[in-house]
């Protein structure tokens, strides 16, 4: 607001967009007002841009003036605390309105889904949903993983581990190798602790 007032002297201001970083073209207005931000001032006419460019030589522009002060410090926080106090009636009305809308929307969607149930699309495919007579698996990651897991277990059951002599030898060898590895690891850890003087009791 104050920005558009400020630049009004250069020409008619159409809108002011504020974002966190330059170049971001997201349409959401930053809700939290802290920190440094970038503002895009859109003028009605190109002449405004020219005028704004010429401005910089005339010294800094003041945002906070006598007539339109920008609240900072205590007064700002008090105002925001006061703003955080909500009017119950208003809130209630808003909630009710939203929920009615929402219910309506959901109902519409459901009605639409029910209409499409079992109707093949132009390629002749029928979409399987949870609602139908034969609900399919839900398409979630967890379900997929479950299926994979079951497959794996099935395969593992078929495999024989201690059947051949070489398998037996292999496991033994692996075990010893593991022990050796652990021994080495422990030695290293001890060396590390010694380096850190972990063994000086006092």
């Amino acid at each position: 607001d104050s920005l558009s007032r400020l630049f009004a002297r250069c020409g008619c201001v159409q809108s002011v967009d504020i974002c966190e970083k330059p170049g971001e073209k997201k349409e959401k207005l930053t809700s939290k007002g802290g920190g440094f931000q970038v503002a895009y001032v859109v003028f009605r006419k190109p002449a405004g841009v020219q005028a704004a460019k010429a401005l910089s030589r005339e010294g800094p522009l003041l945002i906070s003036t006598e007539s339109h002060p920008v609240k900072t410090g205590i007064s700002k926080w008090i105002a925001s605390y006061a703003a955080s106090v909500v009017d119950q009636e208003e809130l209630k009305a808003e909630v009710d309105a939203y929920m009615q809308d929402y219910d309506k929307k959901i109902a519409e969607e459901e009605a639409k889904a029910a209409k499409e149930e079992g109707v093949p699309d132009e390629d002749g495919w029928v979409k399987v949903t949870r609602k139908g007579r034969k609900p399919g698996l839900p398409r979630t990651e967890a379900a997929n993983l479950r299926v994979l897991e079951r497959e794996k277990r099935k395969r593992a059951r078929k495999e024989l581990l201690n059947f051949y002599a070489w398998q037996h030898r292999e496991t033994k060898r692996e075990h010893i190798a593991q022990l050796r590895k652990k021994f080495e690891e422990d030695k290293q850890r001890i060396a590390l602790m010694r380096a850190q003087r972990k063994f000086r009791p006092y």
Binding site: G34, F36, G73, I74, I78, V95, F183, I190, F199, P201
Partner: protein
Amino acid sequence: MPGPKQELGTGISQAEMPCSGSVRKRALPGESWAAAGTSGQGITLLPLAKIEELLKEVTLKETKKKKIDAFLHEINSLLSAIPETPETELTDQAWLPEGVKVPFLQVPFSVKGRFRFLSPAELKVVGSYLLGTCIKPEINVDVAVTMPREIFQDKDNLNQRYHRKRALYLAHIAQHLSKEKLFGSVKFAYMNSNHLKPILLLRPQGKDEKMVTVRLHACPAPGLFKPSRFYPSKNNVRTAWFMEQSTPKEGAPEPPTPHYNNSIICDTVLLSHLHFLSSAAADFPGMKDGLALLKVWLNQRQLSKGLGCFSGFLVSMLVAYLLMKRKIVKMMSGYQVLRSTLQFLATTDLSVMGISLAKDVDASLPVLDDFHQAFEVVFVDPSGLVNLCADMTASKYHQVQFEAKRSMEILDDRTVDGFQVLLMTTKPMLRAFDHVFHLKHVSKLQGACKKMQLLNELMDRGGNYVAAALPFVVSLLARGLAGGALLVTHSLPQISEWPIDAEPPKHKDVGPLTFGLLFVPEFAAGTLEKGPQADHPEALDFRTFWGEKSELRRFQDGSICEAVVWQADTVCQKRLIPEQIVRHLLKLHMDIPESSICYTGALLESVIRTGQEASGTGEEAMVSVVFPPIPMKPIYSFHTRIRTKHLLLPSEEKPCPAYIAPLKIICHMEGSGQWPQDKEAIKRIKAAFHLQLAELLQQQHQLVCRPAVTHTDVYKDGYVFRLQVAYHREPLILKEVVTPEGMLKYQDTEESRQLELETLHLPYLTSSLHGLQQQHPAFGSTCRLAKRWVSAQLLSDNISEECVDLLVAFLFLHPAPFTPPSSPQVGFLRFLDLLATFDWKNNPLIVNLNAGLTDADLTEIKNKFVAARSRLPIMFIATPKDQWSSMWTQERPSAQILQRLLVLASESLRALEEQLMDPLNSQDVKMVFRPPLDFYDVLIHLNPNQIPRHLESVDRPLKSFSRGVVKNSTAVKILFPVVDYDPVQCYLQELRDAFSDLALFFYDKHGGEVIAVLWKPLSFQPQPFKVSSMKGRMVTTLNNELVCIPNVEAILEDFEVLGEGLVKSIEARTEKWTI
């Protein structure tokens, strides 16, 4: 290594170890250490190797041994060259030159007998050096100097004549040796601080001075005294002489002087003890290791120094005893020796059932009962004459026993790293005992001796009133505190060495005497001590014990009993009842004035003045309520000041209202398919719930409520509760992502994680901690102290409260080697110690809440931790519900902050312990709660007017602004107070939003008056010009290039503008940096 299986108990089962036997055997000895630091599947050499490393660290190296041997040879030749002196009266000490004083308190001075110096008959090294069991840090070599027979006359055993001669002998040696260049220092000391036994300390010249101390003991020629004169029931100090009366009183029997006798007889057996020990240590390599471990164990518990200590020599004799009794066999390893010895100590009470090393029972020798009558703790040496534990008090032995028991528990507990806990952790009194108090002036004990009529004991102890009175003081306290105290113990009086030209230290030079009290957790429960019924004979005894505090009371069951009632209203005061008891008893029975007792039980508690101990009250009406934070903050209620509409608002002109922290309550909605599946819709539903809840509470319970979109605030009895409705599926809905293929995936988002933390994990954690609080009443206060300290050091925004909670919970759940703290102060000290010493880089901190983790889980966590170290947060805390993510420390603290925290913790701990252990100075314990500010670059001073929590600050402001007083109004129509309004926090938020990439902001949220700012050094380096990084920078030219540097002046001005009305002044400390 045959058959030590029964010793080692349940370890690795056979099934886990199908492979070679050799590996298994090697793993055995250290197996019980195996718990921590091991790598899971059982077999590891780590524990064993740790012990070996420790032994390497503490034992003497061969090269040093050679040096020491050479040094000893030189001493030998020097000693035999000392000139002899003509015979003089004992009291005529004019022949001694100026530069040396007799190392003995000659009270009374006059004594018969004649003395001359003759060259020593024999020089022998005795003690641990020869056995190879002496360990660092103090390498002592004991040398026995045998005084030739010709020095002595008849009846030298009487009236300290022997002691005087010994002292003169040493003085003469000292005087000659002090002229030699060989020695770095020649000093006197008391052996184990026993003033009846002076010794001469010799240290080599130059840089080896620290290496070794040679202790010269003068001892009589063998066969000089008849042993029967020194039986514990015999008298060797005449009352008339001691009282300096000319004629002995007729008829009165002379009292026995067992301690005096012991002090002579133990000089005669030095050599035989050496032979005894060396025969025990022969072909027993494990003994050497075991003794080294035991000595480290004793040292860490501060039991091995001072009068009546459990010295290294004593423990060697104990191991020899166990060997004799076949409790230990020569095949055992060092670890097994340690374990068996601790087991023996834990189960045997030497103050009731003494033990003796004497093999053949000679009918003429005194029996154990004689010893028990004379001494508190009995351990008789091989000769059957000397009590090795003569100076030890029963309470000291009980402490040793307690420690041994505790250590055995730790060894059996596989979840604790026994090695670290038993041998590497020191247990100073302040951290080990719940309450510690000092007797500032031990000379007051003189009066106590008089009052208790301890003349005989004084005579026996050669006038040492501290040693004479100590057992009585301790037993008095133990009886008085019997209800709550687990252990009452005292510090060992210690007298340091002194130069040879100084007078020997007096008894009062032992400095303040410290007593430690260990309590059962429930000790703070009652204020009343019920005695026997009024008409019972014990009643009189009870009355005399408690004095005028005892009064008759009628109890509910109709009985009329003697009882003592202590004044205590709050929990905090109840914790201090022991102080009242101690002060009262010492005054009543010992004539010790209150002013000379310095009680440091709860000095710190003033920092966390709690108005009320808050707890979730008055919410009985609600169903399925989870109370989150066990309220940790002092809570102040609010009094109306300004009214606008129906509630209160802060105003500009008046000081800002006192801060009210809302207590959060989370209500879970019931799961139902009816609830909407959309984020926005759920928000509305919750808002509707909040409105409805507020309405219902207002109507049905007449509570004042204020609903908002995200919560409903409820005011009741001075507290504000913040009701939040939560829906358990909401985090899931927030996580939902639909992939392009139409698959539903769950992905953690910032929002969902936050919500999960708040509604799921926090309530769980809180309820677990609440359970802990029920078990350990000191938990809450310890948490508060810890948090207060963290925030006083301005770091509270950099470490989450839950993280501090968990750290404190760790202290209570895994207290080894201590017991769980029963007072906030000791808890806080251990918290600082934990912070300062825990190795965050290499170890996860596992807080086993509700014992929810099994052994297997623990090892798994440790292994995964090692594997994934680099990806985990710097401070990794695992709990049963949160084994892998350490959610409370994920974002903060950063490595730098943690480092700073560690430094601060160790410094605070040091300063605090110094203050608490030094009763003579004024104790300003709040010092550690005042942050050092010289470290920061900019200080923003705030206007106290606008700090809502000003009253919570460490140094409570003398006068603060009226922010209203506690008003527990039950009136229905009251105005809703200002809740959760803290301008300073708003200010900090804005500062961080704007300048977080340039500087760090630190603030004590409990009423600090200063915001400290630290520039980030990286951001001060000139950077190339870029539009996106122009925040707070200005363009300059450097080497003809356009660069940006922070525009500090403008930033400082911004600080002021942003905090208009709140900022008083900004102090830029430009000495560290330039604009």
